[in-house]
């Protein structure tokens, strides 16, 4: 086969060019340390590299967010520790004030200390990081607790910020102050005395606001002079009393006053007066307000003032005038979690019916309202109480009814907070001796509630910090794995690269050398 100079030149040049192209590529790989400098170098690896880099960017951002969240949460925790200490000390002070041994000057001192504890709590409640307030919910640009008309008010909201710790991991960071520093749940105190009427079935234990009466004996002398001793031993209900009086063998009969609040003795005899007196060493007649002589033919006893009970019918209330059932709308919630229900109580007969219906109330989404109808302590009334802390409780009549108004529970109430609690405790201590309205006593219970709230908020923070730590640890592991993968995909193996370059250079030089030697000679060099 003919071999022409152009063929040889072409082959040699082709080989040399290929050799130098290879060297150029190897040089690029070694100098940059990367074997993928553009997608076309290795499209599959390039996709992997871009995906890895993207995830690394994301992981770095998540780590940043976690770190920022942890800083905020540790400041919150510190504030809550201060709050806890303040509340514990406040409880000690209140105990001291409540046990009655402190004199006026000492009470003043205790009140002063309560004021300063209140101040500490205020500082804790207004904790901030770089000018961002942590207990104001979403309103982070101004201090949530501020002085307004002599009281400390809350101007935050009920939201809370979440941090994105990973694609699917959202962790709460802040909590609204209202759910941390609240005390007693919201309560709507109703009419103090709904004045249920006494009926024959009223148990003696219910009388005198539940104080109860245990009766002994009384002697009746009617106007005709007939005498009877009534023994109330074993009597259970008011009806029993009436029956025993009526069975005493005198002309005096017992009944209930029309207003249903006392026992009325009526003398059927012809004489001018009749007498009732304590007998047998007891004070039964006095207790019933029936000790004495009447020349009017009848005698009314004391107001028996029964306490309110579940079995009382609505008709018995207001001294027998009764309260008409109706429709109530009740809402109990926060701005973040509103729950409202409309209760049709028109079918309720007894107070117990009302209580049951209210306790079972659920809102439109089936969530329990968390409200109960409770009896007020020391009164014969009811109160609407929220079972959930930090809420606003509102009740009102619907469609022109009057049930709520009559029960005295129409209105709105916020849960109390520690600031107003400490304020009222301090005021009570300053006011004078004793604790006439039981403020200090109730305050002790409220302080326990407040401590619970603070502790559970702290616990919540602890749980969330743990979660963030676990996520962070997982992210760090992932980061290492991705960086290793990235290295595999794009980095040059230096030893391999240098070896390849050496071999390629050798081939290149060989090609150059040989090319030089065979391009030259032809037959012409050997002809004479």
């Amino acid at each position: 086969m003919r071999v022409t100079p152009s063929m040889m030149a072409r082959s040699i040049l082709g080989n040399i060019t290929r050799g130098s192209t290879r060297i150029e590529r190897l040089h690029e790989i070694l100098a940059s340390g990367k074997k993928v400098l553009r997608p076309s170098d290795d499209p599959a690896a390039a996709r992997g590299i871009l995906a890895d880099r993207g995830r690394l960017d994301a992981v770095a951002a998540y780590k940043n967010s976690i770190s920022s969240a942890r800083a905020v949460m540790s400041v919150m925790e510190g504030a809550l520790v201060t709050a806890e200490e303040s509340l514990v000390r406040a409880r000690e002070i209140t105990l001291e004030g409540a046990n009655g041994t402190a004199d006026l000057a000492q009470r003043q001192a205790l009140a002063l200390e309560l004021d300063s504890l209140r101040q500490s709590l205020l500082v804790a409640g207004n904790a901030s990081v770089e000018g961002r307030y942590l207990f104001g919910g979403g309103r982070t640009t101004e201090a949530p607790y501020y002085l307004s008309q002599g009281r400390i008010a809350y101007r935050g909201d009920d939201g809370g910020r979440e941090v994105a710790a990973d694609v699917l991991d959202r962790v709460g960071v802040t909590v609204p102050g209202r759910s941390v520093f609240s005390v007693s749940p919201a309560e709507l105190d109703g009419t103090f005395d709904l004045n249920p009427a006494v009926v024959t079935g009223t148990p003696l234990a219910d009388l005198l606001r539940g104080h109860g009466v245990v009766l002994g004996q009384m002697r009746i002398t009617d106007s005709d002079g007939a005498v009877g001793v009534v023994d109330f031993a074993g009597a259970v209900t008011v009806g029993d009393i009436l029956a025993r009086v009526n069975a005493a063998g005198t002309a005096v009969t017992a009944s209930l006053t029309p207003a249903g609040d006392a026992i009325r003795l009526t003398d059927g005899g012809s004489g001018p007066s009749f007498t009732v007196e304590d007998w047998g060493g007891s004070i039964a007649a006095s207790e019933l307000g029936l000790a004495g002589t009447s020349d009017t033919g009848s005698m009314d006893g004391l107001d028996l003032d029964p306490k309110l009970a579940h079995w009382n019918t609505l008709a018995m209330l207001r001294g027998g005038a009764g309260i008409a059932p109706g429709i109530l709308r009740i809402s109990n919630g926060t701005t973040a979690d509103r729950r409202e229900a409309t209760l049709d109580l028109t079918g309720a007969v007894t107070v117990g019916d009302l209580a049951e219906a209210i306790a079972a109330a659920r809102d439109g989404e089936g969530r329990p309202l968390g409200v109960t109808l409770a009896f007020t302590d020391g009164g014969a009334g009811v109160a609407l109480r929220s079972g959930r802390g930090g809420t606003t409780l509102t009740a009102g009549d619907v469609a022109g009814g009057g049930l709520g108004a009559a029960l005295g529970i129409a209105g709105s109430s916020d849960s109390g907070d520690v600031f107003s609690l400490l304020q009222s405790l301090a005021d009570t201590l300053r006011a004078g001796e004793g604790d006439p309205e039981g403020v200090l006593q109730r305050g002790l219970a409220d302080l326990v509630t407040a401590l619970d709230n603070v502790l559970s908020a702290r616990a919540g923070i602890g749980v969330r910090l743990n979660r963030l730590e676990r996520i962070e640890s997982r992210l760090l592991d992932e980061e290492l794995a991705i960086e290793s993968d990235l290295d595999t995909l794009e980095s040059t193996d230096l030893a391999q690269g240098i070896t390849d370059l050496t071999l390629a250079s050798q081939s290149y030089e060989a090609a150059l050398g040989i090319g030089g030697r065979i391009l030259g000679p032809s037959l012409f060099d050997y002809l004479r």
């Binding site: 003919r2 022409t4 100079p5 072409r10 694609v167």
Partner: protein
């Protein structure tokens, strides 16, 4: 004629022949490096007359003609391989440039800009009331929009460059076709027998095949007919021109090559022109479509989230990105080039919505936008923004790689075919050297014969 006269004539013819042989050999040697030169061989035949009583008597050598050694099959193979090589070469060169303009692997491309943008939202979610964080988000958004618009502009420029290059190639093609036509005329006038004109014509035809997938048929009269995509480019002395048809609106992309004489679309599927057309209509157009889809989806999603959010003062958020009017999900064309940030955000970063409830510390909108990093979008075929663009640039990388591999592959094939052609039609100096020696010796020998015949004649004359 016989006798001494005959011998002298024989010697004279031999001298002529060997001299001619030397001439032809010399011509070959002179043209050893001439591109496209076909080796010429002198054909010699021996003569004879019949002498009664003696039989056939050779009367020397006569000229059989000059042969041009060309293999039509090898030529045709080479032409075909040429235009395939041209196609992949053009593709490779052009796509490599496009890839270099937006090299995602170097972390300067859209992927990184998008990641930085989303990271800025994540940072905002940590401190939504912070003004600096807002300014950062706005700035990153502006960067991203600029990167998108910039890439769209680069693609547009690449398309225009492709058009310009095609146009330049068409001009070259037309000029070459004209020269072939005039060569045809001259070759036909010489009854198809003029080696150097034929060499020149073959060389020009090969040049054309690098540019386009042309086919050649040789007519009996010696003319060559060149066709591209079924239409005649050159036929005998006539040649036709191709030109670039401009787009319908000024400034819009050109449509493609057409035949000037009848306006028909030229079907050029190979060669450098074919490669550039494919790059422009498939690769670049595909990239532009993907970029528009990306830009539209980005703007649509961010705007949707942003409009539902509230800014630092509790006001409802507006659009974050602005898109051209008329762009929608099915027809997002133009979204990328026109993408920019809503101006009121640039003036007043506190209008940026980070939350949804109106409170300054609410970060739910920021969290939602940051979540776009992994959210799969229906409008992008369930891919996330980042993975969609990564796939696009991966496809471009694959195309570049393929073009490069094919270019090497077909370059080798062309090399081999050229070598084959050379071995059939080229000049080997060794061979020519040997022929020189042969012709020289033959010339000397023929001269000797003439000398001897001359001496014999002298002897005869001196005896008379």
């Amino acid at each position: 004629m016989s006798g001494l006269t005959g011998i002298l004539a024989l010697a004279r013819r031999a001298l002529q022949a060997q001299q001619l042989g030397l001439s032809v050999t010399g011509n070959n040697i002179a043209n050893v490096n001439t591109p496209g030169y076909t080796r010429q061989d002198l054909l010699l035949v021996s003569d004879a007359v019949r002498i009664p009583g003696v039989g056939g008597l050779g009367t020397g050598v006569s000229l059989g003609g000059i042969q041009r050694s060309r293999d039509a099959f090898a030529d045709a193979e080479l032409r075909r391989e040429n235009h395939v090589l041209g196609y992949w070469t053009a593709r490779n060169q052009f796509l490599k440039r496009v890839e270099a303009l937006n090299n995602e692997v170097l972390a300067e491309g859209l992927t990184q800009a998008l990641s930085d943008f989303l990271t800025s939202w994540q940072e905002l979610s940590d401190t939504p009331e912070d003004r600096l964080a807002r300014v950062n988000v706005v700035e990153q958004g502006e960067s991203l929009a600029a990167a998108v618009a910039g890439t769209a502009e680069e693609l547009r420029r690449a398309e225009r460059t492709a058009d310009e290059t095609i146009e330049a190639h068409l001009t070259t093609l037309n000029a070459t076709a004209e020269r072939i036509a005039s060569l045809n005329a001259r070759i036909v006038a010489r009854s198809g027998d003029s080696p150097h004109l034929q060499d020149e014509r073959d060389r020009l035809i090969e040049e054309i095949t690098l540019l386009a997938d042309a086919t050649v048929t040789f007519q009996p009269n010696g003319g060559a007919t060149v066709r591209i995509g079924g239409m005649v480019l050159v036929d005998g002395p006539a040649s036709f021109r191709l030109e670039m048809q401009q787009g319908s609106e000024p400034g819009s992309a050109a449509r493609g090559p057409v035949w000037r004489h009848n306006g028909a679309t030229a079907r050029i599927a190979g060669g450098q022109i074919g490669g550039l057309i494919a790059v422009r209509d498939e690769s670049l157009a595909g990239l532009r479509r993907d970029l528009d889809r990306f830009a539209f989806a980005l703007a649509q999603e961010v705007n949707r989230i942003h409009r539902a959010g509230t800014d630092l003062d509790g006001r409802q958020g507006g659009d974050f990105f602005l898109l051209p009017a008329g762009a929608d999900e099915l027809e997002p064309a133009g979204s990328a080039a026109a993408l920019r940030l809503a101006p009121e955000l640039l003036e007043n970063p506190s209008r940026l919505a980070a939350g949804t409830g109106g409170a300054p510390g609410d970060n739910r909108t920021a969290l939602a936008v940051a979540g776009l990093r992994t959210a799969s979008l229906e409008s992008l075929g369930r891919a996330s923004l980042g993975s969609f663009w990564t796939a696009t640039s991966g496809r471009l990388g694959s195309q570049v790689r393929e073009a490069g591999d094919r270019q090497v592959e077909h370059g080798l094939a062309v090399e081999q075919l050229l070598n084959l052609r050379d071995s059939l039609s080229g000049v080997s100096l060794d061979e020519e050297a040997a022929k020189l020696v042969a012709y020289e010796q033959a010339y000397a020998a023929a001269a000797r014969v003439a000398n001897v015949a001359d001496e014999m004649a002298q002897t005869l004359l001196s005896e008379l």
